[in-house]
Amino acid sequence: MNTLLVQCPKCRIGLLDGVFNRQELAPCPNCDEPLQVELFPAYFRPVGVGAKGELVLTEGESTCFYHPQKKAAVPCDSCGRFLCSLCDCQFKGLHLCPTCLETGQKKKRIQGMEGERTLYHRQALMMAIVPLYITGFAAIYMALRYRREPGSIVQPIRWWFPLTMIFASLQVLGFTALIVMAFLH
């Protein structure tokens, strides 16, 4: 059972009554701080306990790749290794072993597991706009090097590549023309 009480953010007292699911502010019973607490059924949901994995009782039974003494429950959906209940990581309907889960997160293969993304396109676009000559070359390099890298999960921008190339090319051509003209005169 979930035993953690909701605490007042100011005085840290566990809240029992008077402030829950009202559509207005109500004072904390202890410190009178105006609070509004919205609770959902998950608050009362018991916390599940993970399976431990059954021990192998008879010889010849399939065993877990990571725990040879434990009975295999499912194969990993990514690498096919047999897994016991302890090693079976369920994620969005997939049964994965811890290694595949970690690799998937690192290599961004599993959708919905990414914790961070570098926005190369934004960096390239910024460099294309900043007029320092060298930044034009850097922007072209970055745009070509990272053109297949995924952008932001929430705000994917499709037009960044042509825009970066146009700005960066203009910058490089403009500066080159200026230098050539200065050299000739």
């Binding site: 953010p9 840290r12 009554d17 699911n21 609070l35 959902f40 998950a42 999960i153």
Partner: protein, 228 residues
């Protein structure tokens, strides 16, 4: 053909501050617009089909934190006085510059001071129109995380109202009347969090919780030393 975006942006943009706001305000007089570089990482909330996503960005790297609708236990809003204090300060500036404008005899100087006073007045007006300030936290079974983008009461309520149907679809409904009784059911079994732990951190279950209206639990007396 345009692809459907999986996330919709929720109102509000906040900043995970590394420097106090008042210091940024003071820095503005020293380094001008560059003071905005001290704001910290930008935080926005995005509404997905299955999850609420908190996106933190420094402009070139985005980090994501997902709160599945079925795992959200609640939202906690605490009203703060930040907006009120900011309004008072801005009004004080307006009064100062207006008084100076009246005192100055030079027409050019008077116009300049009136313009400055108007800018502060506009800022105070916008600040007032945004509503009361607040802190908002989202609670799951393993953490209580703050949501800096929901720093105004009307906005926080708007976002929660928008998320409520999705959470209800994932978890079902909870009647307000049954909450106190169900919480009291939890209480005798409670052996949980610690006081004085900043929000946003996982709290180890080392000390019993102190509930409002309940006497604080007394520590058990230490056993008497053995007599030799």
């Amino acid at each position: 053909m345009a692809t459907k975006r999986p996330y919709k942006r929720l109102p509000g943009t906040g900043y995970r501050r590394t420097v106090p706001t008042w210091l940024i305000f003071l820095a503005f007089f020293g380094i001008g617009i560059f003071a905005l570089l001290l704001r910290g990482r930008r935080v926005q909330l995005w509404e997905g089909e299955e999850e609420l996503m908190l996106v933190e960005s420094n402009g070139y790297v985005e980090s994501y934190k997902r709160f599945n609708y079925s795992n959200i236990q609640g939202f906690i809003i605490r009203k703060t006085n930040g907006a009120k204090i900011a309004t008072y300060i801005l009004i004080a500036f307006v009064v100062c510059f207006a008084a100076l404008a009246i005192a100055v005899s030079d027409v050019g100087g008077r116009i300049a001071l009136i313009v400055i006073a108007s800018v502060f007045f506009l800022l105070a007006l916008v600040n007032g129109l945004l509503g009361q300030s607040c802190e908002t936290f989202v609670r799951t079974a393993v953490q209580t995380d703050d949501l800096p983008s929901l720093d105004r009461l009307p906005r926080a309520r708007k976002v929660i109202n928008r998320l409520r149907p999705r959470i209800a679809a994932a978890q079902g409904q909870l009647a307000a009347e049954e909450i106190p009784a169900r919480i009291r059911d939890l209480l005798p079994k409670a052996a949980p969090p610690v006081m004085n732990v900043p929000a946003g951190q996982i709290q180890p279950a080392t000390e019993p919780v102190v509930a409002a209206g309940q006497p604080a639990p007394q520590p058990e007396p230490a056993p008497a030393p053995p007599v030799i």
